[in-house]
Point group: C2
């Protein structure tokens, strides 16, 4: 079976690039003496996480309880559910615990803490809790100097039903950094603020065994992780155009692409029409605010080699429009109807989410070597 035989659109995963991306992060974090907690929200596939897990890994991070359920079923027990807990989900977390999950939840306010304690007492169980810290103003979390940190920590430590396990932060602003130097500075800040919160807790006789940080950009460029007990990152396995725009990787490192067929043209406009629209590519325009705007994705030939001038400049649900980014004339004879192209995604998490399987290939090959399932939804 070859790429040419697949019904388009569908996801292609370059196993060599995937393996290389995983290896590079392992080597880098090993050199810093750090443990890894891979974030599965990008790949959502046990076949891929099986490639990642080694003795550097201490468990996984998930973004949905569905992921927790799926990976628990595959035998992975140590799980951090890295989205602030909603009270309505506590019964589901309890069920996962009953089924053997060593699951940690996160929160950043006293109302959540009270809901957790109340449900823990009601069910006669102990929820393990990490306090979410806001290290960069990106979204959720307790400010490092906010008295709420100690107040919530003490409350959880004093009550039945919950157990304080540490602190967690995510430097999400690293996606908006304008230079590698800025990412390095944010990585240092992420580490220092996490450690300072951990110390505040410990100085007040509160337990803080876990100090969890991470994002693919900061994990890539950090040069000191002392005091950090685990690094969470996910998109590094696939990489994407946003990561390439940040300097985290090169476009040639991106393991994920969408296979599309040429179905027509509007030649007077310089357009090639493909059967890959926003449903398969996603609406993500993360490169729009970067130095190089890649439209809805960068076009590659069937072997995955970027054709650097061609981008998907427009999309409808099942249609994509390819054009030259500089308005140059396209040589249409190179793109006959029915020929296949591969589109590199802006944001791998978003692109993969429309699909339920990966078609595996090796670099520079069009032979399908395997098909791996992935999960979606909640």
């Amino acid at each position: 079976m070859k790429l040419q035989d697949l019904e388009t659109p569908c996801l292609i995963l370059d196993q060599d690039k995937l393996s290389n991306n995983i290896h590079k992060m392992n080597v880098h974090l090993k050199s810093l003496g750090a443990k890894i907690r891979p974030h599965v929200k990008t790949v959502k596939s046990i076949d891929i996480i099986n490639m990642v897990m080694n003795d550097q890994c201490i468990g996984i991070a998930v973004s949905t309880l569905k992921e927790a359920e799926y990976f628990l079923d595959k035998g992975i027990k140590d799980i951090v559910y890295a989205v602030g807990i909603a009270p309505v989900k506590l019964d589901h977390v309890a069920e996962l615990m009953k089924n053997g999950a060593d699951i940690k939840i996160i929160l950043d306010n006293i109302e959540q803490s009270k809901a957790v304690v109340q449900k823990g007492k009601e069910l006669n169980i102990t929820y393990q809790v990490l306090l979410e810290i806001d290290c960069d103003g990106h979204r959720s979390g307790i400010k490092p100097n906010d008295p709420a940190l100690l107040k919530i920590g003490k409350y959880l430590n004093d009550q039945e039903g919950a157990e304080l396990k540490g602190v967690l932060t995510h430097a999400g602003e690293s996606y908006n950094c304008k230079s590698v130097e800025a990412i390095k500075q944010l990585a240092a800040k992420e580490r220092i603020l996490s450690i300072s919160c951990a110390e505040t807790l410990r100085e007040n006789n509160l337990p803080c065994p876990i100090v969890s940080t991470g994002s693919t950009p900061t994990a890539t460029f950090t040069d000191d992780l002392s005091g950090i007990t685990e690094i969470r990152a996910g998109v590094y396995m696939f990489k994407d155009l946003v990561m390439a725009g940040l300097g985290v990787c090169d476009a040639n490192d991106i393991a994920l692409s969408v296979l599309a067929s040429v179905i027509g043209y509007q030649k007077e406009k310089g357009w090639i029409i493909i059967d890959a629209g926003w449903l398969t590519l996603s609406r993500d325009r993360g490169t729009a605010s970067q130095k190089v705007d890649q439209g809805y994705g960068l076009v590659c030939n069937e072997y995955g080699k970027p054709l650097p001038d061609l981008i998907v400049s427009g999309t409808n649900q099942e249609h994509g429009i390819i054009s030259d980014r500089n308005g140059k004339q396209i040589n249409y004879r190179n793109f006959p109807v029915g020929s296949i192209l591969r589109i590199l995604p802006n944001h791998a998490c978003a692109t993969a989410a429309s699909h339920n399987h990966y078609n595996l290939v090796n670099t520079n090959s069009t032979e399908i070597i395997d098909v791996w399932h992935r999960i979606n939804g909640w």
Copy 2:
């Protein structure tokens, strides 16, 4: 079971609004003597299409062969696959025909036509073909005055393996219109150009029994459909904020919403944090270019009543940030942790696509009256 019991995020569908949206389009098109071919790409659910199908309907339009397969399995045989055919999909189309589908494919160039004829001869079957017309420069299609129209029509008519069944166009530019008047003008143009293409074919002794047009905005505002044999539209069933911005409906008509839980705040920034991010809401920012930018969605209370100042101003994968569009102070006591909100989508097709089921409610109620399945993928 009530909305309060559902794990967030999930899709909520107001059955009363859905029913009303369907009824209004039926009445309008009936008054113009038009037949309807509902486009199922938005709803992808037999339960909803069962509400639509009546003696005004002559079949469905689909955007993927997976939809065709699903609805054929549910007993709907008359299907237009309204995306230009890729040669690699012709075997799948043949299989659907073998299973009883009266399926029409579309194309706009001679290379596609040759692939169709060749495969038809090879399999000893006859593909039914509509010629796609470009009525507004939006994406694909033959220009109405292009000699290719007759050339392709004659080729298909002369060859075994294919049968010319008519013309089809989609006024996709109606989504970008700046006034109802502009939509009305585009609706007239869509009709006139389709009819002129049909006449060109007929004057040359080519068959053209089908003249298919449609888009929700043009179908809503057209006042003359003489000569058009069928209208395709899909998003009118749900409506969305883009449609509201175009004047097609009011925000109160929107039947689809995403249920979310409040999980925290960044009060000094005026933020409420919810557990609904871009994965559940979609990355669609279709209202960004309209008069009123609704961010990633308009916030409603649990009964579906819009809180017109509150929008989802930012998203991560599983987080949404709600803020006041005018920067006014939010009364946080109205939004305790664990309270639920409903988010109206920019683009219903994109938002629904992350989900595999709809939770049905009545207007102004939080009681779940039914759960309907939907399909996704290719």
